[in-house]
């Protein structure tokens, strides 16, 4: 058998694509990230206190979720080379060979276009424009540019993850307000301590992939200092919704208690610098930061469900 014939007989379905299962495509959407996006977008929707029809709210959440999934698929298409080098991501469908890069790209682009069109046609143009910008920001500005070029990648790139409550708010009201920007700022300031805590205990992974995360570039001590600084900014920012009349006393108390715990964990990361205790402190902050964000946005939703009056109305 000639070499050419051998090559042809070796050409499998995998090499030509079409190997991916429905579950592989579902994985491309980053379902865990998508669930947090849905949750924060829901908080933005209910915090806006508009009279949006529940069905249209559901359509908006669906479009936002699919848009977030599209961003995830485009990210996995572009980052397949570095995903293959990191333990946490090596088993994703593209580096594993289950889905071809072109298939992931087509899937991501189709979902991106579909989600923006659905949101624009069925809900409103402002929300659709914000969703389109978010997908562009995550796929192009963060994934293709910042992630591989600067240790500030997740500081600026974090904006992409911070937009969903603003999109939810815009879906409900058709506008962007200071109150919705305050919700954006909470996630924006939360992202650096959250990801840097992860980067500190996954430092080897990012170094192997050549991703310039702060611990690899500026060192672990500088990262710990930056985590503490961002945490010190984050906690006051979480009170902005109360000051702007979006949230009430329950949210303010919950946020104060959670903020104190967040600062405690951040200070632990700053203080413990070597060995297993330092790694455990980073893991604790990373784990708590997820609970923290979830609880803050849950408090916003719970207040609206329980009909609790915004803080400014109580003191005013």
């Amino acid at each position: 058998m000639s070499d050419i014939q051998a090559d042809i007989s070796d050409t499998s379905a995998a090499a030509l694509g079409g190997e991916g299962t429905v579950k592989d495509y579902w994985t491309l959407l980053k379902p865990r990230v998508m669930s947090l996006v849905i949750f924060t977008a829901l908080a933005g929707l209910v915090a806006a206190s508009s009279d949006i029809h529940p069905w249209l709210a559901l359509v908006a959440l669906l479009a936002i979720a699919v848009g977030a999934g599209a961003s995830g698929a485009l990210n996995m298409w572009y980052d397949a080379d570095i995903d293959a080098l990191m333990a946490r991501t090596a088993n994703r469908p593209v580096p594993r060979g289950a889905i071809l890069p072109g298939e992931a790209l087509g899937f991501g682009l189709a979902l991106a276009a579909g989600s923006v069109l659905v949101l624009g046609l069925l809900v409103n143009i402002v929300a659709a424009a914000l969703l389109a910008f978010t997908i562009f920001f995550y796929a192009v500005i963060y994934t293709m540019w910042l992630k591989r070029s600067t240790p500030q990648n997740i500081v600026i790139g974090g904006a992409a993850g911070a937009f969903p409550p603003m999109i939810g708010w815009a879906a409900a009201t058709g506008s962007v307000t200071l109150a919705s920007i305050a919700l954006f700022l909470i996630i924006f300031m939360w992202t650096p301590p959250h990801f840097w805590a992860l980067a500190l205990f996954r430092e080897g992974d990012y170094a192997r992939a050549g991703v310039p995360m702060l611990p690899n570039v500026a060192g672990a001590d500088e990262t710990r200092r930056q985590i503490l600084l961002y945490s010190l900014i984050l906690v006051p920012v979480t009170f902005l919704p109360s000051l702007l009349g979006t949230t009430g006393l329950v949210y303010t108390i919950v946020t104060a208690l959670l903020g104190a715990a967040f600062l405690w964990h951040a200070f632990d990361v700053f203080r413990l610098r070597a060995g297993e205790p330092a790694r455990r402190a980073c893991r604790r902050l990373f784990g708590f930061s997820i609970l923290y964000l979830f609880a803050i946005f849950a408090a916003i939703i719970a207040e609206r469900i329980l009909g609790i009056v915004p803080f400014t109305q109580v003191i005013g």
Partner: protein, 53 residues
Amino acid sequence: MSPVKDKKPLSPADMSRRRKRSLALALVLAGLVVLFFVTTIVRLGGDVALRNL
């Protein structure tokens, strides 16, 4: 020679995966039909029944 001609016949596992992907796509398309239909009804509201004919 086109890649399609070079492709080996699909195995039963490949066929099963393709069938499931096709089914998922069909469900998504059916879901979109329902989504646009219900949204149209919701956006039109009850007033559509009171218009002058």
